[in-house]
Each structure stands twice: as structure tokens, then as C-alpha cells.
Symmetry: C2
Subunit: 416 residues, 2 copies
């Protein structure tokens, strides 16, 4: 008899994590002889711990297909980190119990580094506990920091959003620069790595001056001001893409300015207004600034077609690998060539994925520290190729909200 499957979304959601969910569920539905019901965790792994299991078989084929073009986590996600096998023993054992109670033999965990680690541990522990689970990690993270895979689904769409937004805002500033705004500052995600900020550099080829502040490079105010001044003198304006992780040599984030509000509370601001005000103070230039925040990772309306296809493909491959008996692996994207862009899905061992963080290669950052190299462009450009628009209804994207009906619980309550 076919075992059931459990699927959960983990950590920060993206524009295409649901495309992976779509890949998992649609592929499982095609293999009813091997996989019974796909249960999804309501709000991620918490759903497994609390036995809040959504019965995805109650969702129509049409609604599951709509996940492909719906951003966010269709079943809910969570930030809930399981630690070492000893430290979080009760949680791991509970997961296995829940899987056993619902005859779940496949575990598909869709997330970043932490979930790869959890996935790997469940595979190990379930064997020890005599209820072996095939644990497959489906890669997802806008941070693009998983090893082995060429990229992480979710990243390409953020990169496209940042590149397009930088281009459009730069055209705007260029129009206004004669008498008004000369500086546009866009703050982007990426606390530890500059992958997302790097995407802003892709518009340089359209004649737009862009200065990037990477978290990999210690902020040097004097050098930065000289660079901005030079670009404004040459072009009449300048766009700045600042990573939220940009920081001073002592490690303090640019965003932490020690400002206090009227009540003496530390004021949380962004890096963008700090950089913008600094330029005004030093160079006397009029500025505008934007903070993209969730807009960048939720922007399914502007998703990269490549990213959507890869997100779907890793979900699909995850199920196929599971059916073929694989365990403790992650479908990984292998880049075969840049031009034409060709890729295929390979297989990474979770033992080699867990707890390994891929950093941006330093030869992706230009010598002056404010731009990207040709090697970086060659890497990034294929990832933003193609558009994959959602359908619209009455002027707005026709995203799906699933029914998300949970099944009856069989186990005692588990306190989180």
C-alpha cells in the first residue's frame, strides 16, 4: 500500500515556493500507486508537531495548479528551528510519531539551510527509531546560500525584481536630476550576503550609474562619497543599492544609527534613509529612498520564468527521487551552460548540504567594492530570464487561497 507524504514550507516565503509545492503535489498525484495522500503542515513544521495536517487531496487540480503562480506560502510557513538531535529530542521524536500515526513515509521539506539540517536529522533518527522515512529537502531561499545547487529557487525572482525596480527608479531620477532628485537609494534584503544587492548592478549595461553597498565589504564612507560624487559628475545622477547587511568596519549595521524617538526608545530605521541623509550632508544632493522589504520576495507579478521553472522542477524531482527510493537528498540545479542557458536537476546529499553556507565569490565584486564583475553578470543574467505572469482578474492577480482543511488528530496534544 502506498505510503502518504508530508510536505512543509519553512522560513521566509518567496514568490515561487508555492511553485515547488505545486511540483510536489502534481507529481505525487500522478503516482497514486506509490504515494497516497500528500499532507501539508499548517504553518510549516509546526503543523507536523501539533498534528495540524492539511489534506491536500481536498484541493482541486485547478487550485493546486494555481499555486504555480501564487506567491507566499500556501499552507503557511514558520520560523521554528529544531536544534541538535539531543537538544530537540522531544520534537524529533514527536515528528516521527506523527508520521507513523498517519502512515507517512515521505517527508518533503521546502526551505533553506536550517530545514536541510532538520530534514537530514529526521532521516537519520527515523531509521534509528525503526520507522524509516524518506526525507527529501526541496531547496528554497531568496538568500541563495545553499551549497551544491547552482541557485536557490526564490532568488532569481528577487533578483529580477531588484534589477527592474532599480532600472525604473533610475530612469525616474534621470528625468528629474536637472532641478530635483539626483540620488536614489534602494534598500534590499541580504543580511549576510550580497547576492540580492548584486542584482542592482545588472542595469549598468543600460547606462545607469549604480553604486552597491555589499555586506561583504566594510563601509568606507570617504571612498563611498568619492564614488557617488564621481558618478553624479559623470551622469548627473546616481542610484545606490544598499544591502540591509551593509555595515561599518566594527560590524555595526549602517541602519543602526543610535537614533532615539521622543520617548528615548531606540529607533529602528532602514539603511536607505541613513545612506541618503549621509549623502545629503556630505555632498548636498537631493535624494529619494525606498525600502523594498517583503515587496521584493513576494513580487510574483514580476517573477523570473527561469526561477518559476526551477522551483517547479525541484518539487517534481523531489517526488520522483523519493519514488525511486532516494533518501536524505536534495534536488539540486546544475548549470550546464550560460549561453544558451541550460540546466538540469541533479542530486545533492543532505550530509553535504546541511550546515554549509555558500558565500558570494569575491571575484563577483568589482575591485573598488561598489559594483559587480562580468563573472557575476554571467552568473546572474540567466536567472532573471523570462517572464511568467499570473492571470489577472478585475485588475489584480488572481492568486489562490487554498481551503486548507486539516484531518482528524490521532495523538495527544503536544506542547510547543
Amino acid at each position: 500500500m502506498a505510503k502518504n507524504a508530508f510536505y512543509a514550507q519553512s522560513g521566509g516565503v518567496t514568490a515561487v515556493i508555492n511553485a515547488s509545492a505545486c511540483g510536489v503535489i502534481e507529481t505525487a498525484r500522478k503516482h497514486g500507486d506509490k504515494i497516497g495522500t500528500v499532507y501539508a503542515g499548517r504553518n510549516g513544521i509546526i503543523g507536523a508537531l501539533t498534528e495540524d495536517l492539511i489534506d491536500t487531496s481536498l484541493e482541486s487540480d485547478t487550485d493546486i495548479a494555481a499555486l504555480r503562480y501564487t506567491p507566499s506560502g500556501g499552507f503557511g510557513s514558520c520560523r521554528f528551528k529544531l536544534r541538535g538531535l539531543e537538544e530537540s529530542k522531544a520534537e524529533y521524536e514527536r515528528l516521527i510519531e506523527v508520521f507513523k500515526a498517519h502512515d507517512i513515509g515521505y517527508f518533503f521539506y521546502n526551505g533553506g539551510g536550517d530545514s536541510a539540517d532538520t530534514c537530514y536529522k529526521i532521516s537519520q533518527l527515523s531509521e534509528k527509531m525503526g520507522y524509516p522515512i524518506q526525507a527529501i529537502h526541496i531547496p528554497k531561499t531568496v538568500d541563495n546560500d545553499l551549497p551544491i545547487t547552482d541557485t536557490c529557487p526564490g532568488f532569481g525572482s528577487v533578483a529580477k525584481y531588484i534589477a527592474v525596480s532599480t532600472l525604473e527608479a533610475s530612469f525616474d531620477v534621470r528625468s528629474m536630476a536637472k532641478t530635483s532628485t539626483k540620488i536614489f537609494v534602494l534598500e534590499v534584503m541580504g543580511r549576510h550576503a550580497g547576492w540580492i544587492a548584486a542584482a542592482g548592478g545588472l542595469v549598468e549595461d543600460q547606462g545607469i550609474p549604480v553604486v552597491i553597498l555589499f555586506p561583504e565589504i566594510e563601509f568606507d564612507k570617504e571612498k563611498f562619497m568619492a564614488r557617488v560624487k564621481g558618478r553624479v559628475e559623470e551622469h548627473g545622477f546616481c542610484s545606490i543599492v544598499v544591502s540591509e547587511g551593509a555595515h561599518w568596519p566594527d560590524g555595526k549595521f549602517l541602519a543602526e544609527q543610535g537614533t532615539r524617538d521622543a520617548f528615548g526608545h531606540a529607533q529602528l530605521g532602514g539603511a536607505a534613509p541613513v545612506v541618503a541623509n549621509m549623502i545629503k550632508d556630505e555632498l548636498g544632493l537631493k535624494f529619494h529612498w525606498a525600502v523594498a522589504d517583503y515587496l521584493q520576495r513576494a513580487a510574483r507579478h514580476l517573477a523570473s520564468k527561469t526561477d518559476v521553472e526551477q522551483a517547479y522542477a525541484v518539487g517534481k524531482a523531489g517526488v520522483e527521487f523519493a519514488i525511486n527510493g532516494d533518501n536524505a537528498i536534495m534536488p539540486a540545479i546544475e548549470r550546464l551552460s550560460n549561453d544558451p542557458f541550460e540546466w538540469k536537476i541533479g542530486k545533492a546529499l543532505l550530509s553535504e548540504v546541511a550546515n554549509v553556507e555558500k558565500m558570494m565569490p569575491m571575484d563577483f565584486i568589482s575591485d573598488d567594492g561598489f559594483g559587480i564583475t562580468d563573472a557575476c553578470k554571467a552568473y546572474l543574467l540567466p536567472l532573471i530570464q523570462g517572464e511568467d505572469y499570473p492571470p489577472y482578474k478585475n485588475g489584480l492577480p488572481d492568486y489562490v487561497t487554498l481551503k486548507n482543511i486539516t484531518i482528524d488528530k490521532k495523538l495527544p496534544v503536544f506542547e510547543l
Copy 2:
């Protein structure tokens, strides 16, 4: 012999002001017997004052057609306000001199309230000075505050951007709300009127709780917190759309918090982080916030098809009216019906447009002051209908940058 025309873009640019330019130039090219060369002001009206006249006949038909899908001001814009006829006498007289020197008989001025006023004054003065100019105002402003016309080209696309962004970010927050972010705050443009903020309310129909802070409504912290708390209790999360013009009863903007940086400088922030931190202090809820700034008005990638068509139509009609002998008028959009949405181009007298600001009707704001009414939805929805995607090349929109070659000057230098 056909008189030449002068076209200038004024004030803040939009995603579709170039579509109006496209309408003007393409239509003029079809009427070579009536209109000679269309000159465009480099950086708006400043280009006329300094005799920096771009010869648009040197741009290919393909490049002019590309203006239809290129955001920003293709010829440059400026913030340069001409005042009363006496106060700015030298400037007005200079304009007429430049027009005379280059045999310009048609003046197309593409902007908001200030440019409508300038346009009207030029029409009056030129007659007095014995060199009559047909002055036509082409409406443009994301502020949507011009009278008579049903809407202002530029606004519909911003409204669509804000509605889509609110929808997408809200889906994101909904996914994360169980363990993480419960509040998302989006700051939008509109210092004096809540038209843009109102667009965030369009996503309520998709089950998204949205609380709007309008500039029309004095900020009442207690009432606001109660409203947010209620929405979070009901939905588990809440999105807030705050206008940059949201203010306290004493008129002070929410954004002005009196914060100081390490050097004692007043810190300019946005309203979004202020509102977000306030909610955290009062309700203890985790938040994210974004400031859309220029991204919202430059987002041609997400333009409303209705808006693009109307922007083109007012440009085209402006030229047709001019050819038919009209003067001191503005093509105005007349709404004929909501469902199906039908509209046509009418004609407004500049004497009735200049110095009149259209406010948002108070019956567009719900009784509690935090949402929009059905009347508002019925007004807004047609304006965001349809998509009109730009072509893409190598992953990015293939926007045009014009050659912008200016003609030889004939007059002495004019000091601004």
C-alpha cells in the same frame, strides 16, 4: 506653412507620461500639413527658457513608439514653477520669444496643476504680445488632483502597483503570521490626498485585512491601535497602508518624530517605520515595513492598461484639438459607465482647471476613517484594469533612451 510645436514634461514623472508624449508625437507626425517639427524641452520648461530644444524628428518611429512603454520623462522633466504674470514676467516673455524664434505655434504642456496654470497664462500672454500660441495642457499626475477630468494619467498605474504590492506582501505576512511577522506597513505617496493610499483598500475583497492611514483623517493613535488589534485578532495578521501625508491633529506628519542621529541632526525617516514601531510598542507585534517611493510611480512593468490607453489618448487628443483650432484647453477623461467601463475624451477649459485642486470625496472613506467605501472601489477598480507589459530583453524591460539632440540656438543666453 505648418507651425512647429513645443512639448514639455513637467513635475514628477510617471510610468505613463511618455505614453502621452508618444500620443502627441505620433499624432503630430500624421498631420505634417498642420504641424511641422515637434520640439521637446530638455528637462521640461527649462528647456524652453534656455532654448534647449530637442528635435524629436530625429528620433525614429520605433523609438517614439517605444515611449509608450517606457516610464519616466523621456526628455527630462523639472520642478520649476512659473508664478504670476507680473512676478515671472521675464520668464513668460522669454518663452514667447523662444517660441517665436523657432516658429512654434503649438504648446503642449504635460503636467499637473502648476503646469495647467502656466499653460493658461502663456495662452493669455502670447495673445497680448501679438504672437498667439495655442496652448494645450496634457493632464498628468499620480496625485489625481486635477479637476474636471475623471482621473489623471499616471494615477491608475500607481494605484495598480499599490494594490498588487499590498496583496502580495499581505499573502507573505499571512504565511508568516503564526510565529513571526503579523504586521506589514507600506508607505505610499500622496502628501495632500489619499487617492494612492485608497488603492490599498482594493485588496480587502480578497480577504486581506487592510487599515489605511489617510492624510484626510487626523491620526488618532488610540483608535488606530484598537482597529489594528481587532484585525489581527480576527485574521492573525494585518496590513497597513500609510500615506506619507498622514499626520497628527496638530498637522505634524507621522514621519516627523523629532529623532536625532549621533551628531544631533534631525533624522528624516518615513512614516512606515514610525507606525510599525508604534504598533510594536503598543501591541507587541512583530512587523515588517516598506517604503515604495519612486518604485510606485516608475513601475511601468505593472502599468494599468486603462491608464496607458488614457495617457496616450490625452496626448493624441491634445494634438487633434490643436489642429482644430482649440486653445487654452485640456483633454479631459469623461467616464461614461463603470461596468462595462467606458470613457471618452472631452475638453476642459484651462480657465476652469488652473488653480483648482480636486480632493478625494469624503464619502470615499469609510466611517471609521481606516478604509474605503464601495463608491471608492467603484471609482478605482476600472482605473487599474488590464495589463500592458513592456517588451523584455535579456531579462529586463527594453525601455528606450532617446537620442535627444537639440537644435541650434538663435537667441542670447537666458539666466534662470
